[in-house]
């Protein structure tokens, strides 16, 4: 490992959803859908080079993540960069997320690949906790019409 670049880590999350690629793509890019399972709205024009923001769906409307759209190919692929607003100017803190959507039997296989994360960073820890919950909530919404509470905490917290 060289000393100028920090060590990077990546994660690959896969879920199978009884739905169509169009609906899954929409569920990632349409604010009125993301708010129903993610507690946030993904706001962007969804063209390469455009900004995107991850806005908490509450009275404060806090922007919790920002990035750029890298690649958009509805309904099969979306690539975005990903950073907390406070670290968006630091290249080392910018990671990349790819969504790949492929039909699989009567389902859709959604793969979320989160790369270029700084190993051991708060962001790496956060997404490891977050993605399984968000993806299982997305699956639940598309299959049953009901998301899960992504902010739920054990009662001791």
């Amino acid at each position: 490992m060289n000393t100028t670049r920090k060590e990077k880590t990546s994660f690959v999350y896969v879920t199978y959803i009884r739905s169509t690629p169009e609906k899954v793509f929409e569920a990632i890019t349409k604010p009125e859908v993301t708010r129903r399972y993610w507690g946030h709205e993904n706001v962007s024009e969804w063209r390469p080079g455009a900004d995107w923001q991850h806005v908490r769906t509450d009275a404060q409307r806090t922007v919790n993540l920002v990035g750029k759209v890298v690649e958009v190919a509805p309904p099969t692929r979306l690539v975005i960069t990903w950073a907390s607003p406070a670290q968006a100017a630091d290249p080392d803190s910018i990671s990349r997320v790819s969504f790949d959507i492929v039909p699989y039997d009567d389902m859709v296989r959604l793969t979320v690949t989160h790369e270029e994360l700084e190993a051991g960073s708060g962001m790496a820890t956060g997404i490891q906790h977050g993605w399984p919950i968000v993806l299982s909530s997305l699956k639940s919404l598309l299959e049953t019409g009901q998301g899960i509470d992504v902010f739920a905490k054990p009662k001791s917290a």
Binding site: S10, T15, T111, P132, L135, K139, S140, K155
Partner: protein, 106 residues
């Protein structure tokens, strides 16, 4: 995707160890995983196949290397289905008890 496959995949110490190894360091090759296991490469491949079929492990090709990643999404689904439901029920009971006890002083 299939709860039976998830539980079956988890019902084996070697496969749980493989998941632990990937949790410690994600994206390992078969060779790297074998270094920590006292078993034939072929058996490890079989265990990884069962984990992959249960969607607990996903794989990505980087050049000639096949990297294995832990995929905890099915575990989250098991948690939602088998753990959180009962937590909620317990919370509900506590809430009723609290209302009952606090209600008396109002």
């Amino acid at each position: 995707m299939d709860a039976d496959k998830v539980f079956k995949a988890l019902g084996d110490p070697t496969r749980r160890q493989l998941l632990d190894l990937l949790y410690e360091r994600n994206g390992q090759t078969l060779g790297e995983l074998c270094e920590h296991l006292d078993m034939a490469r072929q058996s490890t491949t079989q265990h990884l196949g069962i984990l992959e079929a249960a969607n607990l492990v996903s794989t990505v090709w980087r050049g000639r290397e096949k990297l294995h990643f832990i995929n905890p999404v099915p575990l989250q689904e098991v948690y939602e289905r088998w753990v959180r439901k009962f937590e909620r029920q317990r919370l509900g009971l506590l809430h009723d008890l609290k209302k009952e006890l606090e209600g008396k002083s109002e």
